[in-house]
């Protein structure tokens, strides 16, 4: 697992897809590949109310990535310093084994270059101390990027707040 965590507060997300667009613009991608994608789940009726969620799907930068094992050319790599999984473009020959190997559909095919595109947490930006492109543009501020140890705090806090809110409380 990379030492970073990209947290999406799906409760806040309105499905505007601005993150997708910012990502593609930053990487100058043609139609097709989406290194990150907002997937709409639902609507489903819960307690007779239609509910739906927007789930942000980047690469999870696994600890033991299937894509890295599957890649025959060594183009798919895991950065030793921080665990970011990325494609070394000049080594990629376009065999798409990573695309087939990933259980989450993270590696994306770029038909223009005949090579694979993948979320790398915008490692060039991260190295400059900046946030990934998607995070910078999030309309509702539901995307948060940081070190794993900092990020868990948000979820915990939110859960606590939720449990403690007036409606759900015993007050």
């Amino acid at each position: 697992m990379s030492q970073y965590y990209l947290f999406q507060d799906s409760k806040k997300c309105i499905g505007c897809h601005a993150c997708e667009i910012q990502c593609k613009t930053n990487k100058d991608l043609p139609e097709g590949p989406k290194p990150c994608q907002i997937i709409q789940v639902g609507p489903k009726f819960i307690n007779n109310l239609p509910k739906m969620s927007f789930i942000f799907m980047p690469c999870f930068h696994c600890e033991n990535p299937w894509c890295v094992s599957a890649c025959p050319t060594g183009a798919m790599q895991q950065r030793a310093s921080d665990g970011i999984v990325f494609v070394q473009k000049d080594l990629c020959v376009g065999c798409k084994t990573c695309v087939s190997a990933c259980p989450w559909g993270a590696p994306q095919w770029n038909p223009d270059t005949g090579k694979v595109e993948k979320c790398d947490y915008c490692k060039d930006r991260v190295d400059q101390g900046l946030e990934p492109a998607c995070v910078t543009t999030c309309t509702t501020g539901c995307l948060k990027f940081g070190k794993v140890e900092e990020m868990t705090q948000i979820r915990r806090q939110r859960h606590a707040e939720s449990v403690a809110s007036l409606e759900n409380s015993s007050f």
Binding site: P72, T73, N168
Partner: protein, 721 residues
Amino acid sequence: MAKDTCPVQSTLQYLSDRIASGVLTDPKVRRICESIRMLVEEISLGEAGDSHMAAIDDLMAEFENRTPDDTATKTLDHLKHILSDRREEFVSHIETRNCPSHDCGVIAPSPCQMACPAGIDVPTYLALIAEGKDDQAIAVIREDNPLPWVCGLVCTRPCEMMCVRGRIDTPISIKFLKAFAAERALSDRRYTNPEPAPPNGKRICVVGAGPGGLSCAYYLALMGYKVEVIESLPFAGGMLMVGIPRYRLPREVIDREVAMIEDLGVTFSFNTRFGSDVTYEDMKTKGTDAFFLAIGAHKAWDLGIKGETDFPRVIDAITFLKNVAIGDRHAPGKHVVVIGGGNVAIDAARTSLRLGAEKVTIAYRRSREQMPADIEEVEQAEEEGIAFAFLTIPTEITGNDGRITGLACIKAELIAKKGTDRLAPVPILGKEFTIQADAVISAIGQYVDDSGMTAFNAVNWTRRGTIEVNHASMETSMPGVFAAGDAVSGPATVIEAIGGGKRAAEAIHRQLTGMPQPRMPKIPVRRRKVPMIEMTAAEKMRLSRPVMPMLNVDRRRTTFQQVELGYDEAAVRKEARRCLRCDVCRRCGKCVEVCRDKMGIDALHLGYLDFDHPVKTDFRMTAENCITCGACAANCENNAMTLEEKDGRRMLKLCGTILNEQEIQTCDACGARLPSAQYMAFISDKTADLTQKAEQRLLCNDCQRRLSAKNHVPTRPVNPT
């Protein structure tokens, strides 16, 4: 993105589209655009000279004064913009003949086309012949060579020497397929001339109706010139008619192709010798704008031995073959000795045999390996019973009362000499002998007969007695006078003369329309890009070059009937299918490299791609290891290697040859196409050391993402009701 594309190539594309779409309705604007397009094309091909940019600037200035409508103004603005903004890139194309973005000249001609002195687009016409489109094949050939039938029978075929298929088994029988297509198209009445440009009122005088003169006349006539051909012989064809015997090239073949050129309005004056029957001044007063000299090399070298001038039956091969061609059908003698080792010597010997000579011997100074004659010609001569005396230096023709009795010779040995690769024959003292003979034919080479050329006093001649020209434009040192063929090269081949004639025609047109001449000889141009022919790997490997059926030897020893009978139609179509299409596959070897070194699969066994270290080639072996991943296709810059999907199968094809096909799997959720089972097995092997994936549904990338998103919907406290 726009900055990365080559401005030369994009301008060429832009102008081609403008011209082809017909939006440029003003004739002057169209003419200007066509001229600019031509210059830009030459820049993109690396042929442009120093004055090309200036010529474009002049045309642009002319354009500026003529903008009759919006479309023209738009075109002008576009050109102005690109020519000023990206000017240095145009200049660097001219200076370095290199396109850094590889947009220009990405599609280089095939080796066979590069080898052809006339630059015929061989793979294209072979593909057309394979599909039975003989008339289209002939049209493609005639864009570079107006005499496909003649060349189909007598060409020395440098193309076959370079044929890449020869690295796998044997070269494609390129030469004869051309003859078959020409014969079939003529027989079907579908061998037609292209539409010539309207007459432009300019007159050109071509001296000599041999292959060089005919080729130049044809291309000039197509460009709208009035061409007048002066010929001293009573028929057209030059050396085709008087040098090559009828058993190799029937007269009808020459007559029919010359008739096609005559149909374009080219006029021939036969039995007319330039310099005496018609003079330079005559032609000048008639208003001739340019001259093209293709007078050939019709004078034979003397043997320089004793007795050469003492006997009437000592004759040179050129005169002998000419006399036979004109109609003298007497045998030169009963026991004929031909001196020389080239094709002319073989022709003279085989002709003597057919005229009734009992014994014909070819005496050559060196050995069989050094003979300049074609190997097939030598073999055919041997089959007919011609004897060879190798390492034989003639010293004297002996006889009495004007009758030859023999040829005195001395045995030679071959010795390596400094400064030359060719072994020199050196006489061995004391090893004299005599060959019995009553006629001696010398065939030791020809030179250019310059009598009658005195009016062209400013033309420079080389030390070898040939006309000196600039080989890019075939222009002599005398302005307005061009030359090609044997007169320039010394005795050479039909196809070289045809190529020279074509180059000269283009140069004459440029000179008379005020265009600058190219600095380098033109790189052959690809004429079409015809679709690939689909076939199995097994068929591609199994096809083999057919054996040429021959006339029986008795008939060959007695008549002038054509010796090579030609393939039948089925054999021709099959042979054309054997072509590897090197016009599309440039044999860069990237596919093999990716598959072997990057993927570690090593499924492609294409040894023929590597010229220096040829390993085995077998298209059929691909299917053994290939997983149809398509990495080879993704890395093929010319789309020679393709991954196609048809009828539920995924096929890997190299220039139409199906290297492998596997069943396509589909996504369980949405039905999208997925890789083959072999491909999935390859991945499972690679990821085997990771946590075993549970037995999964077969899902496409999108569905996989969707499914995992669903699983990631966070569980959160639900409002109590």
